[in-house]
Amino acid sequence: MTQQNRLRVGVDIGGTFTDLVAFDDARGGMLIAKTPSVPGEYSAGVINALDEVIDDYGEIELFINGTTAPLNAFLERKGARTALITTRGFGDVYVIRRSNRSRMYDLHYTHAEPLVPRRHTFEVEERLNARGEVVTPLNEADLRKIVGKLRQAKIESVALCFLHSYINPEHERLAAEFLRREAPEIFVSPSYEICREWREYERTSTAVINAYVSPILKNYLGQLETALTGRGYDDKVFLMQSNGGLIDSGESESKALLTLMSGPVGACVGSGVLSRKLDEPNMICIDMGGTSFEVSLVVDGKESVVLETNFEGFPIRAPMVDIHSVGAGGGSIAWSESGALRVGPKSAGAQPGPACYGRGGTEPTVTDANVVLGRIDPDTFLGGRMKLDEEAARTVVGEFARSFEFGIEEMAEGILNVINSKMANAIRTMTISKGIDPREFSLIAFGGAGPMHAMLIAEELEIGRVIVPNVAGQFSAWGMLNADIRHDQSQPINLRLSGLDWEAVNQGYTDMETRLADLLKDEGVAEDQMRFLRYLEMRYISQEYTLSVPVPDDVALGADDAAALKARFDELYLQNYGHSNPQEEAQVANIRVEARGLNALQDQEQPALLADEDAAAPDKTREVVFAGQRRETPFVDRANLQQGEKRAGPMIIVELSCTTVVPPDWEVEVDAMGNLLITKTGGSKS
């Protein structure tokens, strides 16, 4: 690190905005920027954001990116033209899926359109049995014919998934090698490189998504690196992965699947970091935008991760931070049905948006209700970049109120009561499904509208403490800057615990760690910053899903340890499912190593925002309605709040792209890092 290299930059590209947070070591502070995203050419949006705060790209020491390119290609079905190659006899596994209907009363049920049509699925002669032994060898002549067909169909990317490859990937490896040699222009994603778990449909779906989006990521990274190099930054680019860790962009090119949730995950990582710094081990993390409300959890200081996700109708079998999305946001529309009130899930979205956006929205939304109640200052929304039409909001909410014979403010508070209770219900169900009582958690809120509703949701959940982090509006970018580099590697075992070859297990761990250490070294991680966490992935003999049991990372395991490991597994099982079955034998599905290159920032003091003092808006007061009462309420620019300052609600705290509503009976305190710690001081539910 030279004298000039002093900037660590995190950039989070969202669907609408590109957010930047930079730690400036020389000035000992933090810089932020927010610019519109440029769909189709996301790298241009990144450069625009960088240009706002950086003059000399040579000053950048570290560049971290949360990208939406693969996700958007997937959502908009603009991924690579993809084919699938399977074991002979099983080409229909991908279109058959798991045969379930997720909407029980839908007589006209359809699946999400498959990413690969059946006609681009090819079968090759080969077969392994359930023990991974070769029943029929791989037929290269079949593959050769398939190459011709791939070219004829103008295929750009291929997923490979053979039966039982999770236990023996040899045939997939050979086939991938053949294709890469014979058709180097086609991207190849064999399932074993991305997922070594049983259940062929889930593994196929995972490999197909990876094949579908990887060429997109590669293309994006090419554009980005060209632009950065041209401006004087030619060092590594790190990407945020869905599992909460960073990966070198070169390494990620063939594994774009791992970056699918790149954007939102940054905020979960940030929550985990704050959880440890604030000594708040358990947090419910909420992010509310225009159309959706996202919930994730931090438990015991760690982001809650799931091993399998169903995403837009497709299973993904890879570790991902567990983010639940609910159809509730600022754009959620209030409507009536047979005389009953409903709010959402229909949303006005960004176009036309809420009526107060003045873009032709004619239905009352949650944001309109907030404007009517005075909780949003129409003049300072989005840092004053977007002037809101208060009259339009009053008109649509007023008309709606008349249809129910309500006063306008009563109606507006009613709309918020309904949406807040809906969000609280969603949080409660998510925590219950994990055996957690939400009252034992604190709430952390970020994103545009999260802090506007957080205290009201907290009251519903009987949570008395809410955190609104510093740079709440760009919190994902902040989180990325604090993330570790992370790689996971696993090796299938599929043996009863009692029948394990312990020598092979220990050797497996050592081999994986050697490979992972090389990888980390290539990414510039010093040896003393490397951590290797070992796990046994175990299940009861009769069951399908595994739990990760941590094992010591520095001692060789042996048969003597089996009883203790089994007891640990039973205990974890009890924690996760509310019961366990110590009499039943356990099976070891995989051994896994999680490798981390530690991020030194996590242990350092977090830099404060380098705010432009003059730009801070002067404080003012407006009338805001709380529980039917109009109250003279201060509107304070967050930059004007002092560290250690304590103030009682009601109060509205305004910052770039984020508004925090502190209701009466809540008190806000600013901590040393600039976070708002908001606590319930008394009173009953509003």
Partner: protein, 593 residues
């Protein structure tokens, strides 16, 4: 009653009812022991008020819609509301009382507020084994006593304490007592989570407000459903069909349905259906009534209709006592195929009245096969098998989905081949969608599944495959879907097909089995199908080139990537239409998977 309660409070309460059911479901999913519950979601979760009126239910198995009500009512009838106290939990499974087969066990928990019963949480879930003549789904039973333990409404928890005497009895009657206990505990925990949430809601808003809101919620829902029924032209609509047999004789089992639409009332009358049979093809009245409700939920113009007590106030079903739809002791009732047929026949009957809402023949069975034996090394008993999936019926503007779970299941998943081969000594040679098995039509029926596997050692084998005598029908000129079959190919011997309801078959090592399910019915005249859609089907292998020409009248070029010959297609379609008019029969192609 006080003045009308405000719609904001009503909506908050309505959402809370649903959230309560969802929370119960989350607990059950998280803590149940059997994959059939946490993986296949073979359960129903419902919340009732003290009048046994449905407040909300969580997504699960549609078959259980309405059926759980009978369980709660049976508990109330036997014990009386006045004798219930906080922490009382009941169990019941008797087919004649609650409708379903004995493996579906209902747990009912009474919710008590200030000493007064104010509601119930009820959960129905599939228990792996409740004792029966053979493990799994025994075929060929003739009395309910051969199908497992019958449980009348009994208390399994009293004031929060487990009634261990009763639970011991359950355990002693099951081949898998540990699993049974795990699942029962999960169901009780789920029901008690509902209690916590429901009583919390009552404390927050007050019982009066909850009751008023409940009334308004029912009224609003009822209004919507009444309006929908009113939109169906009045009339008496009829349909009939048969199940293949009762597994004892090969005689068909006839179902006759009259759907009477009179203003905003809809009645399903099964009078004229067969008297109850000796074999296991009889159902309890609650299941019959549940099908009328389920049919309405299916037909209601929303993919996620609101289902509560208000939804079904003007819907009913009638059956003759002693018929297959209201069976009496002691006939067997293991298989729910007659209600699957009934559901389908209700849709068929209504097809002329609401052609845009109905669908052609749906998957009419769960097409089960099972293998069992003893592990050659450990001598442990093992049982493995699966429910197979078929083609969904087409509807106006929409092809049926292929390889999908049957009509009265929901989020029920198939068994992965990798899991199956790891647990059962078979090698699967292929799992395919059967070409041309979806009924042809302007909109095509979904394709069936065809599975071929080989026994790697000597195995015992049993099957239950239905609906060959009444295939999944086409509508409005659409063709029927393919019919199911099971064929066994012993090594070096001639094959045997039609092993549809077989038990006690021994498969020698090396024997191959090919199992085919039913295809979905087609909708509308196949000669009117968009030729581009036919081409797409040919490219995907869903329809053969032969069928494209002979059934759909679409002429394709011979190339690897064929194109449509528009002129020849128009000509062929004209001549096929003319010859069909002459013969009065639509063109057919044999459906071979």
């Amino acid at each position: 009653m006080n003045a009308k309660i405000d719609p904001i409070t009503t909506e908050v309460i309505r959402n809370a009812f649903y959230a309560t059911a969802e929370d119960m479901s989350a607990v059950l999913n998280r803590s149940s022991y059997s994959p059939v519950i946490y993986e296949c979601h073979d359960y129903g979760v419902s919340l009732y008020n003290e009048n046994v009126e449905l407040l909300a239910q969580a997504p699960g198995t549609p078959y259980f819609t309405g059926g759980l009500e009978a369980a709660v009512q049976a508990v109330v009838d036997k014990f009386g509301l006045e004798n219930m106290k906080s922490g009382d939990v009941f169990a019941v499974n008797d087919t004649y009382m609650v409708g379903a087969h004995l493996n579906d066990v209902d747990i009912v928990c009474v919710y008590v507020h200030e000493g007064q019963p104010v509601g119930f949480g009820a959960i129905r879930a599939h228990w792996e084994d409740v004792g029966a003549a053979t493990p799994g789904h025994p075929a060929g039973t003739t009395e309910i006593y051969q199908e497992g333990l019958r449980i009348p409404p009994v208390r399994i928890m009293s004031g929060g304490e487990l009634v261990t005497d009763m639970v011991d009895l359950f355990k002693l009657n099951s081949r898998t007592p540990k699993t049974l206990m795990g699942d029962m505990n999960a169901m009780v925990a789920a029901a008690r989570m509902g209690e916590k949430r429901f009583l919390g809601l009552i404390r927050r808003f007050g019982l009066d407000v909850i009751r008023q809101a409940t009334g308004e919620i029912f009224e609003a829902t009822e209004a919507k459903f009444r309006a929908f029924i009113s939109s169906i032209p009045d009339g008496v609509y009829e349909a009939e069909g048969c199940n293949d047999n009762d597994s004892v004789t090969d005689d068909p089992v006839w179902a006759k349905v009259k759907v009477i639409v009179d203003g905003d009332r809809l009645t399903v009358d099964t009078t004229g259906s067969d008297r109850q049979h000796d074999g296991n093809i009889n159902v309890g009245l609650p299941s019959t009534k549940a099908m009328a409700k389920l049919a309405l939920a299916f037909l209601y113009p929303s993919a996620t209709p609101e289902v509560n007590h208000g939804s079904f106030k003007t819907v009913d079903a009638i059956a003759e006592k002693g018929s297959i739809y209201w069976s009496q002791e002691p006939v067997a009732g293991m298989r729910p195929v007659p209600v699957m047929l009934l559901l389908d026949l209700i849709l068929k009957a209504l097809a002329p009245a609401i052609p845009d809402r109905v669908a052609a023949g749906l998957p009419g069975d769960s097409w089960n096969w099972e293998c069992y034996g003893r592990n050659t090394e450990t001598d442990e008993f093992w049982l493995a098998g699966e429910s197979m999936n078929g083609g969904w019926g087409a509807s106006k503007g929409l092809d049926g989905v292929s390889a999908i779970t049957h009509s009265v299941a929901g989020d029920f998943r198939n068994v992965p081949i990798e899991t199956q081969e790891a647990r059962c000594p078979i090698l699967v040679h292929s799992l395919r969608l059967g070409t041309d098995t979806g009924g042809a039509g302007q909109w095509r029926g979904g394709l069936n599944t065809v599975k071929e596997f080989e026994a790697l050692e000597q195995l015992n084998f049993q099957t239950h495959f239905e609906r060959t005598k009444t295939p999944q029908w086409g509508l409005f000129g659409g063709h029927d879907g393919a019919i199911p079959d099971v064929t066994v190919y012993p090594p070096g011997e001639s094959p045997t097909s039609g092993l549809l309801k077989a038990s006690g078959i021994v498969l020698e090592k090396g024997t191959r089995v090919v199992a085919r399910t039913g295809g979905g019915g087609g909708y509308g005249n196949p000669l009117e199908r968009d030729p581009e859609a036919v081409l797409e089907d040919v490219l995907n292998g869903y329809v053969s080139r032969d069928a494209a020409r002979s059934v759909y009248g679409v002429v394709l070029s011979d190339a690897d990537e064929p194109v449509i010959d528009t002129t020849a297609t128009e000509e062929l379609r004209r001549s096929l239409a003319a010859s069909a008019a002459d013969s009065g029969e639509p063109a057919r192609v044999s459906a071979e998977g």
